[in-house]
């Protein structure tokens, strides 16, 4: 056996997030078990039990209560975290909106799982896409390393004075949450220094400066408060790059709102999120070896949506396939497709664009399917009536 020092630890995606939470050492964590999120809390509660963190762990009776308790703790003025999946997130829905509008910097790892029904425990993005207008920042992670690092970055992003909004850090259920990879964990002391000590702006428990949280807000000011909330989430556009630059001293990585892969001279591109982006990179590598000018764009941050980066990266492309891991019933294509298509509207020479709904309920996305998409759009490039087949379903029985 080689004796060189290995700086990577074998961890599942869920365990990687739990390690980030250990380093964050939040004052309060409230959670209710739901597969496949359970892996996070399974590992984190072991840290609580072993005294590795000072967290007060609150075991609640439902996800609605988990989000409520987290909101209460955050309003009181401490770092507070919860995690969930699928129907758990759906049950939180009411308080998810309240957390954002109360401007509380809660961080919530979400392990993406298909919403019922029919009941299914596997991955798709129906759960977090249902919260896309809730006012939370949404980050989608490709692999375990990214899930670890984005959880750390999310704390600083949420707590930034120009933002003060909750952040969801999403990863694919089972595919990464239960898949083990070598993860490079940074030293506790270095991470703690990066995270800093949380100084809440308006803690409820500051009795010398009493404030009201959650009052009635009618037609005289509600609209202004919503407008401010909108400003705040757009401030992520300015703040995130600064935090990434600071974090780069630890990670060495340039995390953008998007990640482009072989896009410099690409004529055909797939746009996709989370673990499927990694599989698509493999497809791009294989097709590049055959001399085909293909590339991939991964959306790392879905909210706020990175419109200018998308416009820039897709400028010279002939045709784009947007892959949505969710069905938006009654809409023309999935939510990612609509964002991307809308982003390109102003261009005179805009690329052709088609949508693929894929991977619902954990249906596997393989390199062969990625190749199929590239093969199909390659033909569509010269076709005039591709628009009649704008939204496709990537391998589904009729």
């Amino acid at each position: 056996m080689s004796k060189t020092k290995i700086d990577r630890t074998p961890l599942s995606g869920a365990e990687s997030v739990a390690q980030a939470m250990r380093q964050i050492n939040p004052e309060v964590v409230a959670a209710y078990p739901i597969t496949p999120q359970t892996g996070i809390m399974h590992a984190f509660t072991a840290f609580v039990n072993d005294g590795d963190v000072d967290t007060e762990m609150i075991r609640v009776e439902s996800e609605h209560s988990a989000m409520s308790a987290t909101l209460g703790a955050s309003a009181a003025g401490v770092r507070a975290i919860t995690a969930t999946s699928s129907n758990g997130l759906a049950l939180m829905h009411e308080i998810v909106y309240i957390a954002a509008s109360t401007r509380l910097p809660i961080v919530m790892p979400v392990v993406n799982r298909a919403l019922s029904g029919p009941i299914n425990i596997h991955c798709d993005h129906s759960d977090t896409m249902a919260e896309r207008d809730s006012g939370w920042v949404q980050i989608y992670c490709e692999n375990n390393q990214e899930a670890y690092e984005m959880t750390l970055l999310a704390i600083r992003l949420a707590e930034h004075k120009d933002i003060l909004l909750p952040v969801m850090v999403c990863q694919d259920g089972f595919i990464t949450s239960h898949g083990v990879e070598g993860v490079k964990l940074y030293k506790d002391s270095i991470v703690k220094k990066f995270l800093g000590k949380y100084k809440p702006k308006h803690p409820l428990l500051d009795t010398k400066n009493p404030i009201t949280i959650g009052p009635l807000d009618f037609y005289d000011y509600y609209f202004e408060h919503k407008r401010q909330q909108s400003e705040a989430i757009h401030n992520v556009r300015k703040v995130f790059p600064k935090l990434v630059k600071e974090f780069k001293k630890i990670s060495g990585k340039d995390y953008g709102f998007i990640e482009s892969y072989m896009m410099d001279d690409a004529k055909e591109a797939i746009v996709v999120m989370s673990s499927s982006a990694g599989t698509t990179k493999e497809v791009v590598d294989r097709l590049r070896k055959e001399g085909r000018k293909v590339g991939m764009v991964k959306i790392r941050m879905f909210r706020p949506f990175p419109i200018s980066e998308i416009k820039e990266v897709l400028k010279g492309v002939d045709i784009v396939a947007v892959l949505d891991r969710v069905e938006s019933f009654g809409a023309v294509g999935g939510p990612l497709f609509n964002e991307i298509r809308s982003s390109l509207y102003d261009y005179n020479n805009k690329p052709k664009i088609v949508n693929y709904v894929f991977g619902l309920g954990g249906r596997s996305y393989t390199p062969e399917l990625g190749r199929q998409v590239f093969d199909e759009i390659s033909k569509d490039k010269n076709s005039k009536d591709y628009e009649h087949n704008l939204v496709r379903y990537l391998v589904v029985r009729n």
Partner: protein, 185 residues
């Protein structure tokens, strides 16, 4: 990149075996992935666990369709459906008291490299119960040369010494050594 598929039944330790192989790869500075395939979870159902080991970063995140190596740790799962997709120059290691020719005929496989070992008997002999995943690691080591016996032993010590104590750890290691010698092509 090497892709390994381990086939067993729920509770037989296929997932642990896949993780141990991944950890050995990681110890050698390679990039790894290890993941089980989750179906409806019920005791005794067939369970597949996968490991990928590569010199380069692994970006692919989908099931292994064409494994380089398949290990069947439950003798009742030696059926053609289980070995579908194995590469033509792949290696199959089977827990059985049959010969590799018998397994080849039974599976209707043209595969050259089929290895057999009676991991169940070895497990019962050393560990007093049927947990064939441990001795199978010794057989996989000999059959594939992917990792050395010493690598497995060190990783077993690392993973289990605290949990099961020195005596049972030694028995595990003895079972691995025997399987590594007994495995036949």
């Amino acid at each position: 990149m090497k892709e390994i598929k381990i086939i067993g039944r729920g509770g037989q330790g296929g997932k642990t075996a896949a993780e141990i192989i991944a950890k050995i790869g990681l110890n050698e500075g390679k990039f790894i992935q290890s993941f089980p395939e989750y179906g409806a979870e019920r005791q005794g159902a067939p369970v597949f666990a996968y490991t990928r080991i590569s010199d380069e970063e692994i970006t692919i995140h989908s099931d292994v369709k064409n494994p380089d190596i398949i290990a069947i740790i439950d003798p009742t799962l030696i059926i053609p459906k289980m070995v579908e997709g194995i590469k033509s120059d792949g290696i199959l290691i089977v827990n059985t008291n049959k010969t590799s020719d018998e397994v080849r005929d039974h599976l209707k496989l043209k595969l050259k490299d089929i290895y057999t070992v009676d991991a169940t008997s070895i497990s019962i002999k050393y560990l007093g119960k049927n947990i064939p995943n441990t001795p199978m690691l010794g057989a996989i080591s000999t059959a594939t040369g992917l990792f050395s016996l010493k690598d497995v032993e060190e990783e077993i010590k690392h993973k289990f010494l605290k949990k099961i104590g020195p005596e049972f750890t030694k028995k595990n290691i003895d079972s691995i050594r025997e399987a590594s010698k007994e495995v036949k092509q």
